[in-house]
Each structure stands twice: as C-alpha cells, then as structure tokens.
C-alpha cells in the first residue's frame, strides 16, 4: 500500500529547501522501489521546524524536521515511512508542544490538507458552512456573523456583521465581494499561509458572503510579492469551479458566484481599502475620501464588501459551528481566535492561532523561546510598520484589540516583530518615515511632505545636530501627520516614531559615536 508523505509547498518552507527535500524523497523512493504518494501541503506554521516532513502511519501523522535533502537517505534507512526512530523525529505532529495548546479554527486545515483538492477539503469539513448558509436567508447569515463578534482581521477591527448588513440593505442590481489580500505589513504572513495552505476556505468564505448579501462577483486583490499564493488560488478556483462550488449554480442552489484573482503591483497603500478599490479598477492606488463608504459606493460605484483574507476564511467555521461557538473564544470585545505571527529575531518563529488574551510575554518566551541571537529582547513592534514599538516593561499586556490600544499600541494584522538589544531605535524611527515617504500615495500633504521632512529631521538627530530642538520639531511633525492625514498611512506612520521617542529616548540623545 502506498504511504502518504507530506512535504510543504508553502513559500516559506520552499525558502528553506522543501522543494529539494521533496525531490530527494521521490528519487530515494524510486531507488528503493518504495511506494510513496507525495502531497504538497501548506505549512503548519512552525517555521523553525521547516521543512517539516510528515508521514501517515497507523498512529497518526508523524513529523520529522527540520529536514534537508541530505537527510533523506538516512530517513529512509531509519524506516521513516513507518514512523521509525531518527534524530529528526518529532513524534505525532499534533502532540508537538508548540501545536498542542493552539486553538486552530481558521487554520484548522492549513498544513493538513492538499490545498488544490476539493475532495480533501470536503473530507476535512469543508463546504459544511456553505451548505448551512444556503438553507438560511441573507439576513440570517449576516446575523450569525454579527453574533459571532467577528471583527476585521486586516487591522481596522471593524465589526464584520455591520459591514455586511450595510451591503445587504442596498438595493442595487450589482454588488461585489472583495478580499483584501495585500498583506504588506512586515511581520505578517497569515494571509499568505492560508491562501497557499487552504485557499478553499477563503473561496468558501467569499461565496457565503456573496450568497448573504446578494453579490455574484468576487475579486481577490493579491499582492504581487506572493507568486506562490497566486498559483495556489488559481488552482483552487479552477478546482472549485469544476466541482460546481463556483459559477452559475453554486452547490446546486441555482445561485451564482464567480471569483477572480487580481494582482496588485507593489504598493503598500493598496492595503487601505479605498486605495485597493481604485487599484482594482485599474487606476493609481490613491485613497478615496470617505464617505461614501465602500459598503454603499465601492468597486465601480457599487455596494462592496471589503474584508481581509483571515476575516473571510473564518466565515465557514462560524457558519458550520454556529456564532455562539465562535464567540465563546476570546475576551471582552475581542471574540474568537487570532492567528498571531512571531517574526524577526525570534528563536521559534511562526504562526500561533489562539483565543485572544494571551500575553506578549507568553508568546515571546513560551512559544518563541526568546531571540534567535540569544540576546535579550529589547522591543517588539506589533501591527506592522504603522504599529508602536513596545518596551519589555509592557510585555505583560494581553494581545487583544482593547488591551493594546490601552497602552497606545495596535494589534493590526497580528504580526509581532522581535528586536534584540542591538537595535538602534533612532534608525528604526527614521525607517518608519522613510517607508511612509516611499509608499505615500501623494494625495494629502501631511503624509507626502511630512514623511520626507521626518526622515530629514531624524537624520539630523542621528548626526547629533541640535538634537534637542530637532526632537521637539519631530514631535510637532508627528502631531501634524496624525491629525492631518487622509488615511492610516500618514496618520499612523508617526506611531512607531512616537513610541520610540517615548520609551527609547536615550537613542535620540548623545549620538556622538
């Protein structure tokens, strides 16, 4: 009988040699005439163990990692196809400590299934949410999403049900479901992992959204930096269309829903929803003035849902298990689970899906194991390039929307970038302004001009030129940008700068190095 072996086709795993490992397994299996079926799954998110190879055994899926191509002959010799002992053996995958405490709802199939197979998806619970949704009215589906407490996982944390209700209430012939897959924040890769590892859950979530509000066309706006996700999505859309889960008769319901991937072109600002809509229309990604809200006048002037990948991919679980089951996870107004991404200088980096409420300290030390360099953690930046730098004295803060905003930080898309004590915070502050200058759409002056002036002022501080006066000038400039910018880019780019000034003031003084 053929043994099923899993080697991730996830971009992150490939970046560490998973492609060579897969090839080596096929070569060695052929040489030994071993009957092996190779599945290219997604990553389970424990990137320090990638490439993580799994073998199906009667005891369950057994894991080996991190595997290099050179290890493969030794693994065969050790009988890894039957779960044999080897220095890289990690035991049954689900019993690995790092996975054991996780609560995987949205990511329940990521790293488990064959991402391109509808049959495998259905076997693992896929399309049960859609089946439930097709038996409900649009208003009931929207009510379920509202009751689940799901908030936008892209960063803005707006209640998803309210957005959907607004679109549902519009009386127009054409509405759109758009997925914001422009995951540009450094330190985040949850969208990429999900699109590569379980794209059908996103497709199902968008289909449910379409059925709920009466939209027949969906677009996934994917960033150009994700070629692997593009291939995974196109394969999955073709498979779902072939299986009649997309098209003019969704799952035999007589309802229509079509889906298309559109590629961005390397502009961070297009993660802002109105800029994304402009880009989807084939224009410069300049921010629109709101109102009107996209839910009323969005893509091509029609009512449009704009949701992040994780938000939409959480919808099938909520429909399948019920709003209450989802709301039972979490704390306060942060309901459900959050895929947290540990990144940067961290020993055990990767994706952890847990209920809201875990502290930064638990994440950084229990899961992450401290820095990769072995030096003390000096700061973490949470929520991407517009997020605040948090000092070690605040690591007991819980990772939820309210607790983080309580200390002047933001959760954003759930990415945590770790820095050790060699970081120079004045340089990180300058980078925040540089990034804003590179990525500003140019529509409003505080962002377009302010960011460039910000780089210059911080450069003078770094060079020790009139530091005290320039720090004061920088603080005023930050205020102007926060108050006067049209969207979150210019309005939030000062956050990392202000937090660096507040908690790491010493880095802005005494620059005579």
């Amino acid at each position: 009988m053929s043994t099923v072996v899993y080697v991730p086709g996830d971009a992150g795993a490939l970046s560490l040699g998973a492609g060579e490992v897969a090839q080596a397994i096929l070569t060695e299996a052929k040489r030994l005439a071993a009957d092996v079926t190779l599945v290219r799954n997604g990553s389970r998110g424990a990137y320090w163990l990638e490439p993580l190879v799994e073998v199906t055994t009667p005891a369950g899926r057994m894991a080996y990692g991190p595997v290099s191509a050179a290890d493969v002959p030794g693994l065969f010799a050790a009988g890894f196809l039957r779960g044999g002992a080897h220095a890289l053996a990690l035991g049954v995958t689900d019993s690995i400590d790092w996975f054991k405490g996780q609560q995987r709802l949205t990511f329940e199939r990521v790293g488990v299934v064959d991402p391109g197979s509808v049959a495998d998806y259905v076997k693992h619970g896929g399309y049960r949410g859609l089946t439930r949704a097709l038996a409900l009215t649009g208003a009931d589906i929207v009510q379920a999403i509202t009751a689940s407490g799901l908030r936008g996982r892209g960063g803005a944390a707006f209640p998803t049900g309210i957005k959907w209700k607004t679109v549902l209430d519009q009386r127009t012939a054409q509405k759109y479901i758009t997925c914001n897959a422009d995951e540009g924040d450094s330190g985040t890769f949850a969208d990429r992992m999900l699109m590569e590892g379980d794209p059908l859950s996103l497709i199902e979530g968008m289909t449910i959204a379409g059925i709920a509000v009466g939209a027949t066309q969906g677009y996934i706006y994917l960033r150009a930096e994700y070629p692997h996700a593009l291939r995974a999505l196109r394969t999955a859309i073709a498979a779902a269309t072939q299986a009649r889960y997309l098209g003019n008769d969704v799952a035999g319901s007589g309802r229509r829903f079509d889906l298309e991937v559109r590629l961005g072109a390397g502009a961070y600002i297009c993660g802002e929803e109105t800029s994304m809509l402009e880009s989807l229309e084939g224009k410069r990604g300049e921010v629109r003035v709101r109102p009107p809200l996209p839910a009323i006048k969005g893509l091509f002037g029609q009512p449009t849902i704009v949701n992040n990948v994780i938000t939409l991919a959480s919808v099938p679980w909520i429909l399948e298990h019920g709003a209450e089951a989802y709301a039972n996870f979490g704390t306060g107004k942060s309901r459900g689970t959050l895929p947290i991404q540990l990144a940067g200088n961290i020993r055990r980096g990767g994706l952890i899906e847990r209920s809201f409420g875990l502290s930064l300290r638990e994440l950084l030390y229990d899961y992450g194991g401290g820095t990769a360099t072995g030096r003390p953690i000096r700061t973490v930046q949470v929520g991407g390039p517009l997020g605040a730098y948090i000092p070690a004295s605040q690591f007991d803060t819980a990772v939820d929307y309210e607790a983080l905003s309580g200390i002047g930080a933001l959760l954003g898309h759930g990415g945590i970038v770790v820095f050790d004590d060699s970081v120079d915070m004045a340089r990180m502050a300058r980078y925040a302004m540089e990034f804003c200058a590179i990525e500003s759409c140019g529509k409003c002056t505080p962002c377009r001009i302010g960011s460039t002036r910000g780089v210059e002022v911080i450069e003078r501080i770094i060079q020790g030129i009139d530091a005290e006066r320039n720090v004061q000038l920088l603080e005023e400039l930050c205020d102007t940008m926060v108050q006067g910018s049209l969207c979150g880019l210019g309005g939030m780019a000062p956050f990392p700068v202000q937090s660096a000034l507040k908690y790491f003031r010493e880095d802005f003084r005494a620059r005579a190095k």
Binding site: A11, L16, D185
Partner: protein, 159 residues
Amino acid sequence: MQTRSVPETDIVKRIVAEHRARPGPLLEILHAIQDELGYIPGGAVPVVAEGLNLSRAEVHGVVTFYHHFRRSRPGTHTVQVCQAESCQATGAEALAAHARARLGIDFHETTANGHFSLEPIYCLGNCACSPAVMIDGQLHGRVTPERFDALIAAGEKTT
C-alpha cells in the same frame, strides 16, 4: 531599438485586445506586458492609452505609481532583498550592503553585463525566516552573505 519596437507594439496591441473587455483592465494589461517583455516600454503607453480610450498621462500615471512596474529592461535575473522591519531585525541592512558590494551595483540598478538587477522590496511574507531574498520569483529564507553568494553563483551559470 527601432527594429525591436515593431513586434513589441504588436504584442502590446494583442494584450490590449485580450483584456480590454474586462472590468478595470489597465493593471491586468500592464502585468501581461511586463510578464511577456520584462518591462513596460515607453512605446507601450500610447498604444495602451488608445486601446482603452484613456489619455497617455493616465496610463503613465498608473505605470509610475506602482513599484512593481519597470520602465527599463531588467537584467537576466532580478534579485530582490527585503528591507522591511522583520528582516532588519535579523541583519537585512548588512545583507543589502553585501549584495551591493557583491554585484557592484546599487539598488534599482543592473550589472553592466546585464545579468542581475538589484531591487529593495518591502516584505516577502517570509518573516519567520528572515532575512528573505527573492530571485526570479523563488523565495529564499535565512539568507547569510555566504548563501547569497552561492545563489548569485548559481544564477551566473544560467545567464
């Protein structure tokens, strides 16, 4: 250049004809042109503008807005070195300095022999395996200067 411009115009015209009926087709068209030609030649702008009934300024405005679109022919291999925070936390600045020295060019430049173009990029989504580099769409994680040199040496063999 003159001899090359004729077939390029034909290619651009064909791409415009293929996509013009789709809603909001301009970005799709520019992607298709760059995928086929490696960049967006200046001569493509008026052809696209005429095909979509837009002004040249509108098309030029879109081409220049997006970092991904190139207006000059790239090297055989495009090397993108991530410069975002997660990679900075793991030595991306030093890696970028090494890349510039190894290739003898700055960011946004192409080597004199036309083999390599060097670009900064802001997040490849490989932040648990920083620092990250992408070469011709292939992602590489935890890239040390030694590993970078090996990747470039492999690239030299395929130019």
